[in-house]
Symmetry: C2
């Protein structure tokens, strides 16, 4: 507890979306204040945070002011500009640290790094140009997905290639951004592990959840995943290896494919993760508090699960579903305070006890 932030300290959070919102609530439970750095006004996190510094990531003066007003800095998204991180780090510790951001900000770097660690990413190839795409398609085959190396999320910056004839259009849709080709994995299930590592090096994992994606967006997570115990153990060991190699502090979401030949790492996210939202109603310490505990230097919760939960995202206009959710005694609703329900936008989620 010697490095622990005392109650009343301020945790800075980069990003003001729903993850920042739920991190702020968790921080308040532990007696911490929060300051959100987010260019957009009326953002979800600003509703529940103590302070909202509304400025852009190119505003060096605002970044310095933000850092000075906080005791430690964390984030809800990984695509933070390097220059901004450089400024912030001069003033305050950033947790999770820079190495986790370096690895996860670039799909190619991430896959190389995972392979170097002895883990199995999906088949992939660097696509700096058209010739490389042809080589990659020849090696990986179709169908495959071309993705920008940086700044993709929720299926954005991606183009599916069903046959070599799609290559031109797919590459064109990258708008000249460096890309990586990923092969499809013949998986039985998609699962994810929400893992945490404390400042003291202790690791705690929640039980793996089973994910259902639709159109590149997570639709549903069910815990426990219907996998053998030995495989769940493999997933936890794999997570611990990743966190240890990064000297990681905080919560990480690790998406995995379960295949006939074992676990394939789909991607890692150095932050709380949508597939861990079930912990709010299925664990004593949820992923948001777990992350705050880690970055504040407090001991981690052990992650034990006290119920079987199905988490369902509310995407776009959810108004027709609302009466049924509110009338269901097993359902816990979590809305994000977003004014406009655009198609594909995550508006909230529901955790149902099964």
């Amino acid at each position: 507890m010697t490095d622990a932030l005392p109650p009343g300290s301020t945790i800075g959070i980069l990003g003001g979306g729903q993850l920042g919102r739920m991190l702020s609530v968790a921080a308040s439970r532990l007696g911490y204040k929060t300051c959100i750095f987010e260019p957009a006004g009326d953002c979800p996190a600003s509703h529940v945070a103590n302070f909202h510094l509304k400025a852009g990531y190119d505003d060096a003066e605002a970044l310095a002011r933000f850092a000075e007003a906080t005791d430690v800095i964390t984030y809800e998204f990984e695509n933070i500009p390097t220059d901004a991180l450089d400024i912030l780090e001069r003033h305050r510790p950033i947790r999770p640290g820079r190495e986790a951001l370096r690895v996860s900000q670039d799909r190619l770097v991430e896959k190389d790094w995972l392979a170097d660690l002895g883990l199995t990413p999906a088949p992939y190839a660097d696509v700096p140009d058209r010739a490389a795409l042809d080589d990659a398609l020849a090696r990986i085959g179709t169908p495959a997905i071309l993705k920008t190396r940086r700044f993709g999320y929720d299926g954005k910056g991606q183009a599916r290639i069903d046959s070599p004839g799609d290559a031109d259009e797919a590459l064109g849709s990258m708008n000249g951004a460096p890309a990586v080709l990923e092969g499809f994995v013949a998986f039985q299930r998609e699962i994810s592990v929400i893992a945490a590592r404390g400042l003291d090096g202790a690791v705690a994992c929640y039980d793996p959840g089973e994910n259902l994606h639709e159109g590149g967006i997570l639709r549903r997570t069910t815990v426990p995943a219907a996998i053998p115990h030995a495989l769940a153990t493999d997933a936890v060991l794999l997570a611990a290896r990743i966190l240890g190699a990064l000297d990681y502090v905080g919560v990480m979401g690790i998406e995995l494919f379960v295949t006939d030949s074992g676990l394939v790492v789909n991607e890692i996210a150095p932050r709380v993760h949508n597939s861990g939202h079930w912990t709010q109603n299925g664990a004593t310490i949820d992923q948001f508090e777990q992350h705050i505990r880690a970055v504040a230097g407090l001991p981690l919760g052990d992650g034990s699960r006290h119920g079987d939960i199905e988490m369902e995202n509310l995407i776009g206009d959810y108004s027709d579903a609302l009466p049924g959710i509110l009338a269901d005694p097993a359902a816990a609703l979590h809305l994000y305070g977003k004014a406009e329900a655009r198609p594909g936008r995550k508006m909230g989620h529901v955790n149902r006890r099964r």
Copy 2:
């Protein structure tokens, strides 16, 4: 759902303490904004609310502005001045309604009202003057407690009378405030029922908890209370009778004594209640969300309990207890963001799964 507040609406909360804080968090989960009315700056609720209107209850202009900025008004304490309520009610509905406040703001009115309803309050007598106190002591006996009729909480405004010789000092300590004498009840246990009534008249109760008070302050609540099922049913029926008679909307805390001759009503509080804090970690919909659902016109949760919980208040300086709480995997910590840990001050609570 026709009278339901849509997400994005603003709930006004009178009072900025820990109950307002946890009500604000619950409102945020349902997509509502909150506006706190509280004279004190840096109050617990202001850390997590959207807006904090810092003004006094005698500021008519501020009260009107507060009401205009909200869609419905609720409160975290019952001692709101009548003049302020009159102003607020001209603009927006106040839930729970005025009758609940009228009854609960005055111990004598409350006891008369409960007796008229056919329920059993503790032995009591009106003490307008010294002669009445002598009569009351002759009838009720000692030990007894003299309490101010209004504005008492957490053991404040109370004086114990162990023998008639204590009468002068006890009456003097009331500082001329109208008082009521209460006899001691020979109880087996203290329990409380956290009950809710929706705008549609539906009633939902949580399982009764067993309370331990020390020095007039709640120290611990354990659920379920170790009482026969029939007695728990009595408590729920009694709660429903109180809520129905008041045409109540919201959560109410009802403190009861279990005696050899049945249940005696100690007091009612027209708000979320300290003895219901266990619901945060033992029920899918906690008392704070239940209250927000009621005042927002949403359907109530059913109140079902999914675990056995012991809630312990953290009173005064809790720093020595903090490492043990954080290291206990069964413990969920809830701090209130208060800067100064004065003796007798509620700083937070812990919910432990048993």
